[in-house]
């Protein structure tokens, strides 16, 4: 099509496939019906080829992200893509092939490729047949207000944040992201599972001189958080964070804000996997039924909690169950895929990863029960301690006692005689998470928290005794 002809039609070049939400919007979302048509094509081709078992997972991701730094937008991106992931199983062998080409020839080629790969390995006598049709609880995590958010909407919100930073002589950096995911899992045994969700995220760092602070929120509904309010919080804390004093490393009482709790406790997620315990690489190996944490710690995995996101089914299409993992400090349950459940002679819990894989399963919707305290009350009750905004670059040092290392970042404050008094230079910690959760003195209200190191979880702020900081850095 020539540009001149396009002009005569009164449409601008490139507009033909755009949605009605303005020039910054992308191509139309394909949606569940088109995903279902792709899955049906794969299953039809598989049936005509005589493949005993076939599973197909079709996923469409539409996402856009506005990124800013130095009080200006410096990156601004949008993506739209579809993936079709096909698993065939025949003669006790299975393999997966994934493509983003959805024409029939490409789907047929992917199917043949999967079959060929599957045949190229030894038999696996433990391979389970694919699941028949299942029933799933309904979840509604698709919010039109989030799906309709445009580049202009995000840019205007970012502009207000940058204006605040300009006004206060600070530097703001962060992101405002929005998007939607559509997912459909089907197999040749009659199983079909569909899910869609929207997601929005705002994260901001305010810098004032060499001091910085941070705030972040995300969820399915963009109306549940206010970027301006988060920016105000980070801006105020950046002022407080100026002129930090250096304290000696050692053991301190700490008050961890929810993001800091999340990023440490989140590292336990794979330890709760039955496969990890069976492989003896989990910190819970040989600890089932034992008191692993303090009596005030209870942890569940709950995909249906109103503050959680995610599909009500796992990688094989098994319905996700609510699982009580830790009750009053005692390790009571693990999560199981169909395979690890069979090994342990127990039922699966709907936490399996797509097959084939060597990791089995994991809980992705952890909820740590909260308490009746609050951060102001924790501060008021502390004679000397440290208030921690967030943690950074957390890595596992020792797997069985779950010793983790990492840094404090973007706001570490001294608490003296019940009040926040000074900013403190950042520390490195080396701390056993098992020990830490035996030393929790107070818990606040559990809420959806988001950090940068672990999956989002529902966790409370915590006041913890005897937290080990091993070294200090220079800022």
């Amino acid at each position: 099509m020539s540009p001149a002809k396009t002009k005569r039609k009164l449409t601008k070049p490139g507009e033909k496939n755009l949605t009605a939400h303005g020039p910054s919007a992308g191509p139309k979302v394909r949606g569940e019906n088109e995903l279902r048509a792709i899955a049906d094509t794969v299953l039809r081709l598989a049936k005509s080829r005589g493949i005993p078992e076939t599973e197909v997972h079709v996923e469409e991701i539409v996402s856009a992200l506005t990124r800013f730094a130095g009080n200006t937008i410096h990156q601004h991106v949008a993506e739209q893509g579809i993936t079709v992931s096909i698993r065939t199983a025949a003669d006790s062998r299975t393999a997966r092939v994934t493509t983003n080409r959805v024409d029939e020839d490409s789907l047929r080629a992917a199917l043949e490729n999967s079959l060929s790969l599957a045949a190229s390995q030894p038999k696996d006598p433990q391979l389970l047949r694919m699941l028949p049709r299942q029933k799933y609880p309904r979840v509604n995590r698709y919010i039109p207000a989030t799906a309709l958010l445009s580049a202009e909407d995000r840019a205007r919100a970012v502009k207000r944040v940058c204006d605040l930073a300009d006004k206060r002589g600070q530097d703001a950096a962060g992101i405002f992201e929005s998007g939607q995911t559509h997912s459909l899992l089907a197999n040749s045994q009659g199983l079909t599972a569909a899910y869609r969700q929207t997601q929005a995220e705002f994260s901001v760092t305010f810098q004032q001189g060499s001091a910085a602070s941070w705030a972040k929120a995300n969820g399915a509904d963009v109306r549940n958080f206010d970027p301006q309010k988060l920016a105000q919080t980070a801006s105020d804390k950046a002022i407080l964070a100026q002129n930090p004093i250096e304290l000696p490393p050692g053991h301190y009482t700490v008050i961890l804000e929810p993001a800091a709790v999340l990023d440490l406790v989140g590292f336990l997620f794979y330890d709760f996997a039955a496969t990890a315990v069976q492989d003896k690489r989990s910190c819970f190996a040989e600890r089932m039924g034992k008191a692993v944490f303090g009596k005030n710690i209870s942890i569940t995995d709950d995909a249906y909690h109103p503050a959680q996101l995610g599909a009500p089914f796992d990688g094989e299409g098994y319905p996700r169950q609510q699982v009580s993992l830790v009750e009053k400090g005692v390790l009571r349950n693990l999560v199981y895929s169909r395979r690890s459940g069979k090994v342990a002679h127990t039922n699966p819990t709907g936490h399996g990863f797509p097959l084939p894989n060597e990791y089995g399963e994991a809980p992705l919707n952890l909820v740590v029960a909260g308490g009746s305290s609050s951060i102001p009350e924790m501060i008021a009750s502390t004679d000397r301690g440290l208030l921690v905004t967030r943690l950074w670059y957390i890595r596992e040092v020792e797997p069985y006692e779950k010793v983790m290392t990492g840094m404090t970042r973007d706001g570490l404050f001294l608490v003296e005689h019940g009040k926040v008094t000074r900013s403190v230079r950042n520390f490195r910690f080396n701390q056993s998470v098992l020990e830490m959760l035996r030393n929790v003195e107070r818990l606040g209200e559990a809420r959806r928290a988001t950090g940068e190191e672990a999956f989002e979880m529902v966790v409370p702020p915590m006041k913890i005794g005897n937290f080990h900081f091993s070294e200090a850095t220079k800022f």
Binding site: N17, G70, V97, V397, G406
Partner: protein, 504 residues
């Protein structure tokens, strides 16, 4: 259109001719809609993953992704959009979307985007690959992995064995409104093995040739064949069991010798990241962090001792690693930049935009993207410590009291890249110029510039390996990128040991 013709057409629509057509068409649309600059990357990425665990197949999968991403400047601001809808209409809509996004970006703009000048290039380049790993039968690949897995499992008290191979073939077509048209093909191969032992109250692990996936290179299957996985399997299995009864690494200050792979990661974290200009300029402040290497430090900081020389070299002449290419994803030719010269800080990693912001004549050519749906950003190329003059045996013999650490187990560094802590899978105590015993749970920590200034010996080119790091995360949305790090074993004085396992 007859059905057979339609099918023929679909088979060809992602061939090279069509990819260039989509690139050109999207640039045309961007220009027509007012973009003052545009570049486009069409990419086709194929990947194969194989793993085993405890003598059985773990993962067996193959994937491909193909699509196009276009970056534009409009009203002095950036916009980027990507699509997998590879039709003329699809890529036109994508280009139009990118322009619309750039207009929205201009709502919160301080200065107009300006780029350092660069030539335009028409070229086609292919990285080294003697044996296409996708042409090697999966049966052959699994036969090796299962043999290695079984060799490790023969050692009593090994409780978990794992092996992996990964192969990628990346075709990219880059075109810009300045006239560049560049096709590149890079084949990446990687493999590694690991043995774990759980005993009483401890879990130990040993890996070969490196941890977290092994060794990676810009190479074909010849990389796998060169690493002698089977020959090393019994050794690492025996070592992991022996670690349980080894003495613990002491907590003290002393002399450290780092093996090449661990030193490669040390370079990555404490040199490679802080020299990224986007970090230095605050553009990564919200996520990856900033850098202690503020602009006043250039040519004005003694980064290391006088024997420390570090380069960022993407040229094939440096070696075939994960940071090797002919052109970056802005179409800038691969270059070698001095980072540390005789211990002095000399250079950053830059892009066309950041080069201009800091007054450099030209980009250092380090903009890279993970895939067609991601924006290029400043990434390490091959950031390498150049070899010194020491023979390895002589270095050990010259060390009266020290600890040799090898194979990374954990790594962490603050968000300005000052204070770090590393632990390794294994260590060896050196006394009187000889390795005398194995140590478990080793760790060391320090401050970046103090550490590099304490370096007093670097082994020679015979001991130098270009390590591939496949898992460097950066950016929002997060991108994973491969980087290269050449290193030979080196010695450092007055280093703090054991803080990771101390409770004091």
């Amino acid at each position: 259109m007859p059905l057979f013709f339609d099918k023929y057409f679909q088979c060809l629509r992602t061939g090279e001719f069509f990819m260039w057509d989509y690139c050109g068409h999207s640039l045309d649309i961007a220009r027509l809609r007012g973009a003052t600059y545009a570049d486009v990357r069409a990419m086709h990425i194929r990947q194969r993953d194989l793993t085993t665990k405890n003598g059985k197949v773990g993962t067996l999968g193959q994937s491909e992704t193909i699509g196009l991403g276009i970056r534009v400047v409009m009203n002095g601001a950036w916009g980027f959009a990507s699509t997998d809808l590879l039709t003329r209409d699809g890529v036109a809509a994508c280009a139009a979307q990118a322009v619309g996004i750039a207009k929205a970006s201009a709502l919160a703009k301080k200065e107009n985007v300006k780029l350092a000048p660069e030539g335009s290039y028409v070229d086609s380049w292919q990285g080294p690959c003697e044996k296409d790993p996708f042409e090697i039968p999966v049966e052959t690949q699994f036969a090796l992995l299962l043999a290695v897995d079984n060799a490790m499992r023969k050692v009593k008290s090994v409780t978990l064995t794992e092996t992996d191979m990964q192969f990628r073939k990346i075709d990219s077509w880059f075109a810009s409104s300045e006239g560049s048209k560049i096709h590149q093909r890079r084949v990446i191969s990687g493999c590694g093995i690991g043995a774990t032992s759980f005993k009483a109250d401890a879990i130990q692990k040993r890996s070969y040739p490196n941890s977290f996936g092994g060794q990676y290179a810009l190479a074909g299957y010849e990389l796998v064949e060169s690493l002698n996985l089977l020959g090393n399997a019994p050794r690492i299995a025996e070592e992991v069991v022996a670690l349980h009864s080894a003495a613990a690494c002491p907590q003290k200050t002393g002399t450290l010798i780092l093996g090449g792979s661990q030193l490669g990661l040390q370079i990555h974290e404490s040199v490679g990241h802080p020299i990224e200009l986007d970090r230095v300029l605050g553009q990564e402040a919200n996520f990856a962090g900033t850098s202690f290497l503020t602009l006043d430090k250039l040519n004005n900081l003694k980064y290391g001792s006088s024997i420390v020389n570090v380069v960022a070299d993407a040229r094939i002449a440096h070696g075939p690693s994960l940071g090797t290419f002919a052109y970056d994803d802005e179409g800038v030719p691969a270059q070698c930049t001095d980072v540390i010269k005789d211990g002095e800080f000399r250079g950053y990693l830059s892009s066309r935009e950041t080069a201009r912001l800091v007054g450099l004549n030209r980009s250092g050519g380090t903009m890279r993207t993970e895939s067609w749906n991601r924006l290029p950003m400043i990434r390490m190329t091959n950031v390498s410590l150049l070899p010194g003059e020491w023979n390895y045996d002589n270095l050990i013999a010259d060390t009266d009291d020290g600890i040799l650490m090898d194979t990374n187990r954990s790594w962490s560094i603050d968000d300005r890249r000052y204070q770090f802590q590393f632990s390794t899978e294994i260590a060896w105590e050196i006394k009187g110029g000889k390795i005398v015993r194995m140590l478990k749970n080793p760790s060391y920590s320090g401050i970046t510039t103090e550490f590099w200034n304490s370096c007093d010996a670097i082994c020679d080119a015979k001991n130098w390996t270009l390590w591939g790091t496949p898992n460097c995360g950066k950016g929002q949305p997060m991108q994973t990128m491969g980087t290269g790090h050449g290193a030979s074993p080196a010695r450092f004085r007055n280093i703090k040991f054991g803080a990771a396992f101390s409770n004091e």
